[in-house]
């Protein structure tokens, strides 16, 4: 792009980012409020999860008191908020250490997996989608089309098990679980990427087919612009916004933990952690996970929005995008 950063300089951008950050805080607050209330409305008593077998009423009472669950709901929320204000998200029931610390310890694993998956997805899905658009209605394109439909139809836990059986059990190329060496990143990444490649390549194909039929392509072709430039500088440059939006949304979702894939591959990430915390009714840990992942997701969305004016000069920050 010829004039990148200048498109979002000036006071408009500053006030836009501040406004968006304010929205982020509000969204995070409402999400955490909802989760806080829902957790306590749900049937079941966390005290049982942390009491010895056949607990007495006194033992249960003591645990509730220890966790602060004996207080009225409003009181509990107020305590939570005032602690949050001081950077304390609470102490995990099961790990007996700050919940935020537990989440932060797991977060790098999830971020690593998410980045690996989104990079692999982009590198494969974009050229694949562009190729399918250029070869639209030909036999090879039909084959790719069927393959991507299959890719988006297979459930991820099933793909995970198939990959495990072939590459870890039968071929012994990779360790089946955990994250000790970089090699273990391959199978979980592939499991996530297969579905994402199928979805994103079909989106790229659809956008490209529409843009390749646009009048400005015909007019540029009449000027003798080479086909490769028509594909990338014309059609793809105009397809970029929906593609980047989709990639951003997918990436944000992956940061929330790729629950099933993390469980299948025993990946020590946030997704596996939140499943564990839910089973053990570890309220502070669940709240900390939600808080961190919501903020991450919102920051990624903000980053995507800030890229729009670079991709398309018609987009102005703060206005509804076309």
């Amino acid at each position: 792009m010829t004039c990148g950063p200048s498109r979002w300089s000036g006071p408009d951008t500053v006030s836009y980012v501040l406004k968006r950050l304010g929205q982020t805080v509000l969204t995070a607050f409402l999400t955490i409020l909802t989760v806080f209330v829902l957790l306590r409305l749900a049937p079941g008593d966390p005290a049982y999860n942390y009491a010895p077998p056949n607990p007495s009423t006194e033992q249960l009472e003591a645990i509730r008191k220890q966790f602060g669950l004996d207080q009225p709901l409003l009181q509990q929320f107020w305590t939570f908020l005032s602690n949050l204000f001081h950077g304390d998200v609470g102490t995990s029931f099961q790990f007996k250490q700050p919940a935020l610390q537990v989440v932060m310890d797991r977060l790098p694993y999830t971020i690593t997996l998410a980045i690996a998956a989104i990079v692999v997805t982009t590198i494969i899905a974009v050229p694949l989608g562009v190729w399918m658009a250029r070869r639209n209605n030909t036999a090879p394109e039909l084959g790719a089309n069927i393959a991507t439909i299959a890719g988006q139809s297979m459930p991820d836990f099933w793909i995970g098990f198939v990959l495990l059986i072939i590459f870890a059990v039968n071929l012994s190329w990779f360790q089946p679980s955990g994250f000790a060496t970089w090699g273990e990143l391959v199978l979980p990444t592939a499991t996530i990427a297969i579905l994402q490649i199928a979805l994103i390549s079909r989106l790229v194909r659809r956008e490209m087919v529409a843009n390749l039929a646009a009048p400005y392509i015909t007019v540029a072709r009449s000027r003798g612009v080479p086909e490769r430039d028509l594909t990338w500088k014309y059609a793809f440059a105009n397809s970029a916004i929906p593609v980047v939006t989709a990639l951003g949304t997918r990436f944000a979702a992956m940061l929330n933990g790729v629950v099933i894939v993390e469980v299948v591959f025993k990946w020590p990430g946030v997704g596996a952690l939140v499943v564990d915390a839910l089973q053990r009714r570890d309220f502070p840990l669940i709240q900390a996970t939600v808080l961190v992942t919501v903020i991450l997701a919102l920051v990624v969305q903000l980053a995507v929005d800030l890229v729009y004016p670079i991709l398309d000069p018609r987009v102005r920050l703060g206005e509804a995008s076309s």
């Binding site: 009048p215 015909t218 007019v219 009449s222 000027r223 612009v225 014309y234 105009n238 000069p313």
Partner: protein, 273 residues
């Protein structure tokens, strides 16, 4: 050698209901400095004829038979021939200037690209300078500034001037103008047509003009072909056709032009309308 020579061109339209003959054997030629107009209502096949010559037909249209030569080269054979001619020997001025430029790049970037397709050895700075000269030639004020603008920041008339400048930048001897004023305000139309005539006078290009507007045809053309249902029903000198149409279809086309009669305001004369 004619600039453009078309002989018995036939184009088929593939539909789910079968094949429709969109162009049914048209023949004509254009020489240097000449404007030849194909006039007809929408769906008559006039734009299809032009696009077939440029090999820019959409997938559902295909040339079935006939010959077309630009500068003596057969453009209906291998695609490499027309690929070499586009942007060098032949240029297109499109129907709707508002959708004819890449929305995400500046006018300047697209003009420089067009200039450098014609002249690969030209450096960026030199191409930029040439772009400013061309913008000047099509009477665009503040060309330096306009080159930095994006297509959505310019009006339709302005964009059509840019597109004419781009067509001129190719030094093409043949310009295909496909309803060049269709999408423009009436007040802007005259300016664009004047500009086309000026460019023709200055450079002696041949123009293939596609229009449904008899007024435009009369102003611009040396020869005119009246097209209906994929065929030329009548053709010849523009004055002849307008003053002494032989075919019933042409007569009806002429009769369809609204005329300014005497103005009688019922409010003034007191009578009911």
């Amino acid at each position: 050698m004619n600039l453009l020579k078309v002989n018995d061109l036939r184009v088929d339209l593939m539909t789910t209901g079968g094949i429709v003959e969109a162009v049914r054997g048209v023949s004509f030629h254009i020489d240097r400095g000449e404007t030849v107009t194909i006039i007809g209502e929408s769906g008559s096949g006039k734009s299809t004829t032009a696009m077939a010559i440029l090999r820019l037909l959409p997938d559902d249209l295909a040339v079935r038979a006939g010959e077309a030569q630009i500068a003596g080269q057969d453009v209906l054979g291998p695609r490499t021939v027309i690929n070499k001619l586009r942007g060098r020997e032949v240029a297109l001025i499109p129907q709707d200037p508002m959708t004819a430029l890449n929305p995400v790049f500046t006018i300047g970037r697209q003009m420089v690209e067009a200039i450098r397709i014609k002249d690969r050895k030209l450096g960026r700075a030199a191409a930029q300078k040439r772009a400013i000269e061309l913008m000047d030639a099509v009477h665009i004020r503040n060309p330096e500034q306009q080159l930095k603008a994006y297509p959505h920041q310019l009006s339709g008339g302005m964009l059509q001037r840019v597109l004419i400048a781009m067509a001129v930048s190719t030094d093409a001897d043949l310009i295909v103008a496909d309803e060049p004023t269709l999408a423009l305000d009436v007040t802007v139309q005259a300016g664009i047509l004047d500009l086309l005539l000026e460019m023709q006078e200055r450079r002696g290009v041949g123009i293939l003009l596609i229009t449904h507007d008899l007024g435009v045809a009369r102003l611009m053309s040396d020869r005119v072909y009246v097209m209906n249902r994929g065929e030329f029903v009548e053709g010849g000198d523009v004055i002849e056709i307008v003053e002494r149409p032989e075919q019933a279809y042409t007569q009806r086309l002429l009769a369809a032009i609204p005329e300014l009669g005497p103005w009688e305001d019922p409010a003034l004369t007191g009578g009911a309308a």
